[in-house]
Amino acid sequence: MENKQSSSPASFVDSTVVPGDVVLDLSSMTNQTIKLGGGLRQDCDAISATKAGTLRFSKPNKYWIESSQKRYVPCVEDTILGIVVDSKADNFLIDIKGPAMGFLPVLAFEGGTRRNIPKFEVGTLLYLRVVKANFGMNPELSCTDASGKAAEFGPLKDGYMFETSTGLSRKLLSSPACPVLEALGKKLSFEIAVGLNGRVWVNAASPDTIVVVANAIMNSECLSGAQQIIMVDHLLKNIQ
C-alpha cells in the first residue's frame, strides 16, 4: 500500500477516494503550481482528500473532488434555485437546500432602489447567484450577475420544480449537452432552469410535456448516455 502512495499522482485521478486518502505527494513535484478545488486539503507536503468522491484533474494544474449528494454546500459564483421563506427589512430569507438560510438583499436587483423593492410572496421560486459563502455564516445571494445586470436571474413563473442530487444538476449543465436533454429537445419544446443546489425547474406549453421532461430527468441519473436516449424514446412513445 505504501508503494501506491509514492507513485505518480495520475494513478488517483478519476478513481474513487475517501476522506483521509493522500492523493498527491508534493515532494515529488517541485517548481509547479497546482490549484486545489473542493474536497482537497494541504498538510505540508501531502494533499489529502476531505470528501468522498472521484478525483478529477484538468490541464494544466487543477485538481478537485467530485461527488454527488442531496445536500448542497454553498459555493461562491454558483447559480442556484431558491424559495422565498420570509422577507425582512433588509433581506429576503431564501431556502437553498443548504445548512443555513440564504440572505438576498432587497437592493440586489438590476436598478434596485429603496423605492422599488420587489414584493415576493412566500413560496416564490427565484434563480439566484451566490455572492458570499463562508462557513458558519448565512450565504449572501444576488439577483444580478457580477456586473449588475439582471441576466435571467429573478423569479420564475409557472412551470414545475423538482429536486435532484447535486451531481445530476452538474451533469445537466455540462457542455456538450447531456444526452437526456438533447434527446428530449429533439422532440419537445420546453424551458429549463438548473440550480447547482439540486433543484431543476421545467416549463412548457402543456402539462404532459412538463411531466415527461421532469420524469425523464429524474430517471436519467444512474443511466449511461446510450441508456438515457433509449429511456427517453420509450417515454415519448408512451405519450404519442
Binding site: 443548504g98 420544480m161 411531466v211
Partner: protein, 305 residues
C-alpha cells in the same frame, strides 16, 4: 428557530398551481392516471412476522411480536391486539423523535380500527387460560420514508407481518392444570394467527377545483389537496372503516364513487399480499425440511464394471 426553518421541505407557488392545473387534464406529476395505484413491493425479513412494504417512494416496516399477559377484566376470554407507530425522523424533515404527533396517532387508529372492529384477527383463539393468560399481539410500524400515503403502506405492512407471524405453541400443565408451558420452536412447530379476512386501507385525495379525486396521493399532492379520506374495505366488498377527518366537504355521490373504486382496488391488493406471503411460506417450509443424513449419491458407473 432559523435552523429548523432551514431543514423543512417547502412547496413553491409554481408547484401548487401546476399540480392543480395538470389534474384538470387528468395528469399527475409522476405520470399516473387519477385512479392508478403506485407499484407495491412486499418483502419479508428473516424472522417470522417482519415485513417491509414499499409503495412508490414510501417505505414502512412492520414487526409483530407476542407476549403472554393477563387479559382485560371485562374481556377474560379474548387476546389483546395493539398497534404502535413510530415516525422515524429519517422519513421526513418534519418528523420529530419522541412522542407521536397527531398524524402518527391518527394512522395508528385507522389501522387499529380496520383490524379490530372488523374482527380480522381472531382474538378468541389467542386465549390460553381464561382470566389468567392470553397472548397480547403487538404490531410495531416503523415509517422509514415518507413519499405520501403512509396509511395504505402501513396497513399493508401490518397485514403482511400478521400473516407471516408464528406464535409459540403452549399447553396447560402443572398439578392443577393452571400452569402454562410455552414450547420452544425447536420442540413444537409455532402456529400462525387466525386471520379471517384482510382489510385494505385505500386513501383518496380531494382537490377543490371541480371536485377532482385522486387515489394514493404522493407527498406533493398531499401538501396541495383540500381534503383526504381513507376507506378500509376487504376483498369481499365489506366496508370495515371510513376515516375523513376535516378537510373540505364532498357530496355524497363522490363518497359512493370512492367506495366502489376502493372495493375494486382492494381485490387486487389482497391478491398481491397473499401471493407474496405464499412465496415466503413455501420458502420457509422448504428450509425446515430435514434431509436424511445417511442418504448419499450412488455412483452408477461402478455397477457397470
Amino acid at each position: 428557530m432559523e435552523g429548523r426553518l432551514a431543514n423543512s421541505w417547502r412547496l413553491t407557488v409554481n408547484d401548487k398551481n401546476f399540480i392543480k392545473t395538470a389534474l384538470l387534464s387528468e395528469i399527475r406529476i409522476d405520470g399516473r392516471k387519477p385512479f392508478e395505484y403506485r407499484k407495491i413491493s412486499i418483502k419479508f425479513g428473516r424472522e417470522d412476522g417482519s415485513s417491509e412494504v414499499q409503495l412508490g417512494q414510501t417505505r414502512v416496516m412492520g414487526m409483530v411480536t407476542a407476549q403472554l399477559v393477563q387479559p382485560y377484566r371485562d374481556r377474560p376470554k379474548e387476546g389483546i391486539l395493539s398497534i404502535f407507530t413510530e415516525f422515524s425522523p429519517m422519513a421526513d424533515p418534519s418528523f420529530e423523535p419522541g412522542r407521536p404527533g397527531e398524524l402518527a396517532v391518527e394512522l395508528g387508529r385507522i389501522i387499529d380500527r380496520g383490524l379490530r372492529e372488523s374482527r380480522a384477527v381472531d382474538t378468541e383463539s389467542l386465549c390460553i387460560l381464561a382470566s389468567k393468560f392470553v397472548w397480547a399481539i403487538r404490531i410495531d410500524l416503523h415509517i422509514l420514508d415518507n413519499g405520501g400515503n403512509l396509511v395504505d403502506a402501513a396497513n399493508i405492512a401490518a397485514l403482511a407481518a400478521l400473516l407471516t407471524f408464528r406464535r409459540p405453541e403452549c399447553s396447560l400443565g402443572g398439578e392443577d392444570g393452571q400452569e402454562v408451558i410455552v414450547h420452544p420452536p425447536e420442540i413444537r412447530e409455532p402456529l400462525p394467527l387466525t386471520v379471517h379476512h384482510l382489510p385494505i386501507a385505500i386513501s383518496f385525495g380531494f382537490f377543490s377545483n371541480e371536485s377532482i379525486l385522486v387515489i394514493d396521493p404522493t407527498h406533493n399532492e398531499e401538501a396541495v389537496m383540500g381534503g383526504r379520506m381513507t376507506t378500509t374495505v376487504n376483498a369481499n366488498g365489506d366496508i370495515c372503516a371510513i376515516q375523513k377527518s376535516g378537510g373540505e366537504g364532498v357530496p355524497q355521490r363522490v363518497i359512493m364513487q370512492c367506495l366502489q373504486l376502493a372495493t375494486s382496488k382492494a381485490a387486487s391488493i389482497t391478491k398481491q399480499i397473499k401471493d407474496a406471503v405464499e412465496v415466503v411460506n413455501t420458502e420457509r417450509a422448504l428450509r425446515k425440511v430435514k434431509r436424511h443424513p445417511t442418504s448419499t449419491g450412488v455412483d452408477v458407473r461402478e455397477k457397470q464394471n
